[in-house]
Every structure is written in C-alpha cells, then in structure tokens.
C-alpha cells in the first residue's frame, strides 16, 4: 500500500467531499484489498460487490476515521474484511463458494510460507514466526480465508478444542511479542 501520510491526506480530502481524492485513495489501496477479498471469498463477483459496498462506506464515513483506529490502511482493511466476513457467513448456509477465483501468487503459498515472503521482515511477521507452526497456521488461515473454528478443524484435521487452544495461545503470544 501507499505511504500512510499520502493516504491520510487523501482520506481527509475525501471527508471534505473531494471525489478526485477519493478515487486516488481507491486506486492506491483497492488492488491489495481486492486481492484480499478474492482470497477470502473465492468468488470474483462477490469480491467486487464487497469492494463496492466497502468503498461506498468509506466515502460516506471518511470523517469518522480517527487516529485511535490506527493507520488509514488498517482502517480500510477492517472495513473491507468485516464486509467480506459478513458475506462469507451469509453465503455459507445456502451458497457454496466456487473455486473459480483468481490464482494469485499468494494462493500458491501455504499459510506458513506466505507471511514471510515480503522483502522486509516487519514486526508482525517476526512475531508470527515466533509462534509454533500449528498456532501460526490456524491464525493465518482464519485471517486470510475467514475460516471459523469448525472449518479449521476440517482443514487441519484437528479437534475443535485443539484449534481453539492454538488460536487462543497463539494470539496471546502474538500480543506479548508485539508489546515488546
């Protein structure tokens, strides 16, 4: 994603009703967020709808952003991810996701590999690497694919209690590591 200062400038202008800035903000951030959506939803049409809904929300609620929400990219990621999660949960009972989604470089990587593929090892990546492989796998899969505990049991062929424990302990370790 682009530099946070630039994103902040564009978001502030968006909050003032500047559509050009809003479009720039979209162009800078949406390719990454769209990729995240496709990975979560595994359906291009649904991903497009989620992106539209999320960015319409950004347009109407830009002025509600504040620094307690973290970086602008964090805020945008939350808006898109929560919409995608809602969509996944509402689809699951009646509408199985198809497999006809874009194959990206990230799809070819397992949850244990992809997080360290960046050129710079950032703080989060370093802390994820401190988790044991099972904890890391459970956390990355639930974040990247929106999997529930139950779905993680099927994916990892592990009991529900074990999955919950991996996630709980993994998150606790992550928090401790990030606080250092």
């Amino acid at each position: 994603m682009a530099e946070q200062a630039e994103l902040m400038r564009l978001l502030q202008a968006t909050a003032q009703g500047n559509q050009q800035s809003f479009e720039q903000l979209y162009q800078l951030t949406a390719p990454n967020l769209f990729s995240m959506c496709i990975r979560m939803l595994k359906n291009r049409d649904s991903a497009e709808e989620v992106m539209q809904e999320a960015f319409v929300k950004v347009w109407h609620h830009a002025s509600e952003y504040h620094q307690d929400r973290g970086q602008v990219s964090t805020w945008l990621t939350s808006i898109v991810r929560y919409r995608a999660l809602d969509r996944i949960r509402s689809q699951k009972p009646t509408e199985p996701l198809d497999d006809d989604h874009d194959q990206t470089e990230s799809d070819a990587l397992g949850p244990l590999e992809w997080t360290i593929k960046g050129t710079e090892m950032n703080e989060l990546e370093a802390c994820l690497d401190e988790l044991n492989d099972r904890q890391k796998e459970a956390i990355v899969l639930s974040f990247m694919e929106g999997l529930t505990h139950q779905e993680l049991t099927e994916r990892t062929e592990s009991p529900l209690g074990t999955i919950k424990s991996w996630i709980r302990r993994g998150l606790q370790s992550l928090k401790r590591c990030l606080a250092q």
Partner: protein, 237 residues
Amino acid sequence: MNYLKPELLEHLAAEYVLGTLHGGARRRFEQLMMESYRIRSAVWEWEQHINPMANNIPDIPLPDSIWKGIQQRINPQDFAQAADKQTGWRSLFLWQSWGAVSTAFAIILALFISLQTPPKVDQLNQVAVFNNEQNEPLWLISSNTETGQFAIKPINAQAVAVDNKAFELWMLPTNGQPKSLGLMPVSGKKQEMVLSPQLLSVLQSTQGLAISLEPPGGSPTGLPTGPVVYQASIIEL
C-alpha cells in the same frame, strides 16, 4: 459474563478481529462495542496488530466495474440523468421540483426493472420509493395486491447503512398497528417474496410504508422500537 474482565475482553476482541468470533456471539460483541469505548479500543488495537497481515498479499488489477459501481452509488443523480437520456424521458426535467423528478425516475426505474424479467406487465400494480433527504432514491418497492408478489430493490441504501443496526419495513394500515414486512436489504439484487394472505390483506388497506432503525435481526417486539427514519406513500399504477 463480565465482558470488561481484561483477559476475556482481550480474547474476544482478538477473535472478533480475526473473524473466528461469529454468529450470535459476534453480534452480541458488536452490541457491546457500541456501549463501551474500552471494548472498541481493544478491537482497534487488535486491528492494528493483525491487519498488516493483509499487506503482503500481491495486488490484483482492478476491473473497471468496481469503480463504476462505486460511482453509481455515490452519485445516483448522475446515474439517473444518464438513464434518463437513454429512456428518452426528457420532458420529466421540465418539472420544477427535483424531488418530484427523482421520485418519478425511481418509479420509471422500478417499472423498467419489473418489465425486464419476467416480462409480465400485470405483475406490478403498486410502487413506493424511499428517498433520502436529498430526494435521491434509496429503495424501490413494487408489489401486486392480487398475487401478493412483493419486491424490494436497494438502489443506494448502502450509503445510509448504520453499523449494528437493521432497517425494518412496516406497513401502516388505515386501521391498526404497523405490520412488519421484514428487514430491508441495503445492497445486492432485488429481493422478491410472496406475501401471506394475512399480510396481503393488510397491504390492501395500506397507503403508506415506513422504515425504522432496529437492532440486528429486527424489532424484538413485533412493533417498531427504533426511530422511523424513512416513509413512503404507495403509488397505484
């Protein structure tokens, strides 16, 4: 359960952000977020911890259709004007009231939509349009008082969506209390249903519709519990 107990709060906030908190537990937690700054702060903190995980995903080129869809939703008046040129209803723009123009356009759009698929002209004999304060259409309602067919089409409702709240549609019969027609979709395709004979008979004595803001899942009492945020008259065709 004491949600403000630090360890529990921390855990729920983390699983909320991760997405593993789902269903009723997620909805309850969202309600608690509305009530407590401390809970919201815990969520924001976790968002800052783990959202950067998304940054390493390789970008995907954006199809033009996404931005066009966004523009259409944030500038519905431009969309309306473009559609007006296509349908040749220019005389409508002689009308002095923009509110009347947008309402009329929405009705035309409702007709257009309903005449597309399936092409049964007699299926539609009522429409209602919910507008925002700028008289831009948010939802189109169409119905047939003989067959009970009923459809809700969100136009730009996403723009007025409220986090952790639902829009519920009510019939306002001439006599008696409001009767719910269910929750309003804020996005997606036209939602169609067939009303029960009981609801259809209420609709036949109804001249107006209203939308109230309710908890997720709708009013717990069967009557509006939140503020009425939009109203619309039913127009007979």
